[in-house]
């Protein structure tokens, strides 16, 4: 017999710790290539440990926030692993779904889908969840279904599924301020709106954001929300900027440690802007933050989600802050590296100035390619391994812009990193623009795609062996990834003559 009236869940590609390596989760954004789908899914998103009720030890952070908000409001709410929803059919009145990328329209899923012509695993996995006997039964019982999370907007492009699966409400944006009221209405059987977009004026205050009650995937802890840079393709920049106080961060790290997670993965759009004034880093706040983390996690790993390349360069050149943080705190114990996602997006100063003038600040956008190179050199020196994104097909992009991106990738070859190309997806202030489609792909785009592939496969082996997948327990994962990389290289070599033919003349 279940006891939760509100069940929060998502599909396997989200409900996983990805073998303790966040980056492996990205494999779920593509279709299974060269491997059976089940094996691919295991590689990207193995099942998580759960208790008797099906509550996962680790769960996506955003869902943990909603769960905490509902528990604090007195509801019987819990995150339940997708394989265990059936245990709560008796008590369930609301089924809440969360996802980054419900239908694989986000980057890079949409790109793999376009290139391979095959549905990405995350989309297939979510559809399986929605068509599972447990979800069907819940629907038949009259359970209300509410879908949210960063991928909520994608429902607007999948209206048939929305209807077929009987979703009652789709909610997009920061929900802490509104979710309790919505749940009260749903439980009282009041009619719900079909769609809510929570704008910046209804963004929650720090006091309204609860401390998570259960562990987050790989110890992820949010240290700030929003971003001051204002890039036009990015939705995060629309959120009001707020810094999470150290005492709250400490509480959340402790929640994770108590659940058996060994480290902390800081989340922010730019970790180095914690406590900053505009784009001016605050060394004192950053050192305090990292010292606190080291004190709490001991020898456990400290991770970063995202960095901005201009902040890396500026923080190091003005304060020596990168080497200080790395040598004195992060690499002081057993830790040998730190990974982070960074956005190159373009190698063209013209395009950088047009769509992301704030990304280079405090440097002028005309200097963007130099900033990228300098930041990569600093990161290489300091054992920071970036997974960098490039955006192809940004509105206003010219062939010359793409050539400049290709040239920049050539200059980044000496630096240990992964570079992942992404096709433009209409988001942020560009969300009304057209998608980048297969018919828009030009020879210059193919050159960039190949260069990123060669760059990333060149460095991947070293990153896997020396840093990311060390140890015996990681051997099967490493072996499968090595096979996958070799298979991709082989396929691309075979495809090259066809590509040459396609763009001839």
């Amino acid at each position: 017999m279940g006891k939760y009236e509100i069940v929060l869940t998502t599909d396997r590609t989200m409900m996983s710790n990805h073998h303790g390596r966040e980056f492996l989760g990205f494999l779920a954004t593509g279709p299974a290539i060269g491997l059976p789908e089940k094996l691919w899914l295991w590689l990207a998103a193995p099942k998580v440990r759960v208790d008797e009720e099906g509550k996962p030890v680790e769960a996506p952070y955003g869902m943990r926030k909603v769960e905490a908000k509902l528990i604090e409001a007195g509801f019987k709410a819990a995150i339940i692993d997708p394989d265990h929803i059936h245990k709560h059919l008796d008590s369930m009145k609301i089924l809440m779904l969360g996802h980054h990328d419900y239908f694989a329209y986000g980057p890079p899923s949409s790109e793999w889908w376009m290139i391979t012509g095959k549905e990405p695993v995350n989309r297939v996995s979510f559809r399986k969840l929605m068509e599972s006997p447990a979800v069907k039964k819940a629907r038949e019982k009259g359970v209300k279904i509410i879908a949210g999370g960063p991928g909520a907007w994608q429902w607007l492009w999948e209206l048939e599924y929305w209807r077929k699966w009987g979703v009652d409400l789709v909610i997009d944006g920061e929900v802490e301020k509104v979710i309790v009221e919505i749940v009260e209405e749903a439980l009282a059987n009041e009619p719900l709106p079909d769609y809510i977009y929570v704008g910046p004026y209804d963004s929650p205050s720090i006091e309204e954001i609860p401390v998570i009650k259960g562990a987050s995937v790989n110890g992820l802890v949010e240290i700030m929300r929003g971003c001051p840079r204002g890039c036009r393709f990015c939705p995060v920049t629309l959120r009001p900027l707020k810094f999470i106080p150290l005492d709250i961060i400490a509480k959340e790290i402790k929640v994770n440690l108590e659940a058996g997670i060994e480290g902390v993965l800081f989340h922010s759009e730019d970790i180095l802007l914690y406590g900053a004034k505009g784009v001016e880093p605050n060394p004192e706040a950053l050192i305090k933050l990292h010292k606190l983390a080291r004190e709490l996690v001991g020898e456990g790993p400290i991770g970063w989600s995202h960095l901005t390349l201009s902040t890396v360069k500026y923080a190091e050149e003005k304060y020596g802050l990168i080497s200080k943080l790395m040598k004195d705190i992060i690499l002081a114990g057993n830790q040998e590296f730190i990974g982070a996602q960074v956005g190159i997006e373009t190698g063209s100063p013209r395009l950088a100035k047009m769509v992301m003038p704030g990304k280079a600040a405090p440097y002028p956008p005309e200097k963007w390619p130099e900033i990228v190179e300098d930041a990569f050199a600093i990161m290489h020196e300091n054992h920071i391994v970036p997974a960098a994104t490039i955006i192809l097909g940004t509105p206003g992009e010219t062939e010359d812009d793409v050539v400049k991106t290709a040239e920049l990738i050539d200059r980044l070859k000496p630096y240990r990193s992964l570079i992942v190309p992404m096709f433009f997806v209409p988001m942020g202030t560009f969300k009304h623009k057209d998608w980048f489609k297969r018919k828009h792909v030009k020879r210059e785009h193919v050159d960039v795609l190949l260069k990123t592939l060669y760059h990333s496969t060149y460095w991947a082996e070293e990153i896997m062996s020396k840093f990311y997948l060390k140890g015996l327990s990681m051997f099967p994962v490493k072996l499968l990834l090595k096979l996958f990389i070799r298979y991709v290289k082989y396929r691309v070599e075979k495809l090259k003559p066809q590509l040459e033919e396609m763009f001839k003349g």
Partner: protein
């Protein structure tokens, strides 16, 4: 939805075909200068739920600044009159687009 709908401006959108999203967005913009940052759009349409979003998707995608609450009502005179009565004391506007 008391708190969520508090201080919202109501737009009754009557639509029989393709929606002129500009009309709605301009209304939202002009109301924002009066202090409204939240809009409840009551869509009266012959289309089924949730397929009507096909017609109003651009309104949602063009907006980034304001909170939007979208409610569906099957098109009928009874529904329209009921609404207008309910909204009498609230700031609202009827838009045929």
């Amino acid at each position: 939805m008391s708190a969520l709908e508090d201080k919202a401006f109501h737009i009754v959108l009557i639509t029989k075909g393709n929606v002129n999203d500009r009309k709605v967005l301009d209304k939202m913009l002009s109301c924002s200068s009066l202090g409204f940052k939240k809009f409840i759009i009551h869509v009266l349409t012959m289309e089924d739920r949730p397929l009507y979003f096909e017609k109003i998707r651009d309104i949602i995608f063009e907006n980034i600044a304001f909170t939007l609450i979208i409610k569906y009502h099957k098109m009928s005179h009874v529904n329209l009159n009921k609404f207008l009565n309910e909204l009498r004391s609230k700031p609202h506007e009827v838009i045929e687009a």
